[in-house]
């Protein structure tokens, strides 16, 4: 392979950095001196933080990767509050995925019943419910949910 020809000198920028801070001749984060031992303490600290973060994250990922065997989503629904709103009633719901797999497009169904008789049905879709995470959704009803029995259940999901 041919050796690389040197650039003619006019290609170099005029020494615009002639008045730069002393010790700025090395580029890189510290932009410091040509002596390797002149790495500032702060650089060691930030570099150390970076090392700890990456080591911790890798450890965590490998741990979760090893300890997860064919996980499935496991969605729990609970009622946060029932509110009277201008156009009816709102039931605020928290969905918790206690399983190890992310569920997409989770359909949350709420049903008002009187005895065994369904009175009103309503549903909401939670687009992404990652494993061991919570998401909130709302169900609208025209009748007062406090007057009936409210049943909540997840209908289905899509695997991500």
């Amino acid at each position: 392979m041919a050796t690389r020809a040197k650039k003619p000198d006019q290609k170099r920028r005029p020494s615009a950095n002639a008045g730069a801070v002393p010790g700025s001749s090395r580029s890189g984060f510290s932009g410091n001196t040509r002596e390797p031992q002149a790495i500032p303490a702060l650089e060691w600290i930030v570099g150390g933080i970076g090392f700890l973060i990456i080591a911790g994250v890798l450890g965590f990922l490998l741990y979760t990767g090893i300890h997860e065997d064919h996980p499935v989503p496991d969605v729990k629904l609970s009622v946060d509050s029932v509110l009277r709103i201008r156009n009816g009633y709102l039931v605020r719901v928290t969905a918790t995925n206690e399983g190890g797999l992310t569920a997409g497009g989770v359909i949350v169904e709420g049903e008002l019943r009187q005895g065994a008789e369904p009175v009103e049905r309503s549903e909401a879709v939670i687009e992404f419910l990652p494993s061991r995470s919570k998401k909130r959704a709302g169900l609208f009803f025209t009748r007062d949910p406090n007057q009936f029995e409210l049943k909540l259940r997840p209908l289905g999901y899509e695997e991500q």
Binding site: K7, V21, R26, F29, S30, G31, N32, P40, V46, I54
Partner: protein, 270 residues
Amino acid sequence: MANRVFLLGLGRAFGGALIFTLPMLMTMEMWWLGFSMPPWKLALLLLATLPLLIGLSHYMGFEETFGFKDDALDSFVALAVGFIAAAVSLALFSVIDSEMSMQEIIGKISIQAVPGSIGAMFAQSEFGGDEKQQREKQRHAGYFGEIFIMAAGALFLAFNLAPTDEIMLIGHQMSPWHSIAMVVVSLLVMHAFVYSVEFLGSAPVPQGASRRGIFVRYTVVGYAIVMLMSAYVLWTFGRTDGLPIGQVISPLVVLGFPSAVGAAAARLIL
């Protein structure tokens, strides 16, 4: 004194991380990838980022005498910057919060930290004050250094575009003729960049290099690297899951186009 100079560099690195990753920080597919990607794929990506950063640090302006320890230290600084910038931005966008699982939070941050740390490293070249030094260093980068920089540029652009559905959509819309045309256009655009770098721009012209030699040594080899990087990113992002090989070719060629521009431009910019 040295600490103050380092702080300046650190600020620059955060600026670089933000400028280069905001498009990804604000892309929801990237958030979803953070928790839908299998942990081992994410771990592999982070492990692969480390040598990439060390290589970038080596080729982007350090004295060759500075050696591995210095490049490794700077890579960890870049990673710290990438992680912190991603964590703060995502918390600010309410993409991560305390109700989410550790796995989701760590996944969302980690995947953004990869381009973030590359951006932090790029910032040293883009906004770094010491131009002359960088020019001098680039002269020493050598053929493999140039190829490495192309790979980094390709990876970065691929990372920007691969999460979007459009890459797959464009791939499915194209006929085989479109794909062939896209390969040709990618090669031409890449060669235009390479040619301008060789004859007008900043990189050194190998003595006695013929046009054909440059085409083979940089453009063709570069495009092969681009394809490899694009394939790796598509696979990492789960875009190839469940697809027969024939269905992967056209999205690969589509992603290869911006990646080729990224690869060729990286040599011009860095």
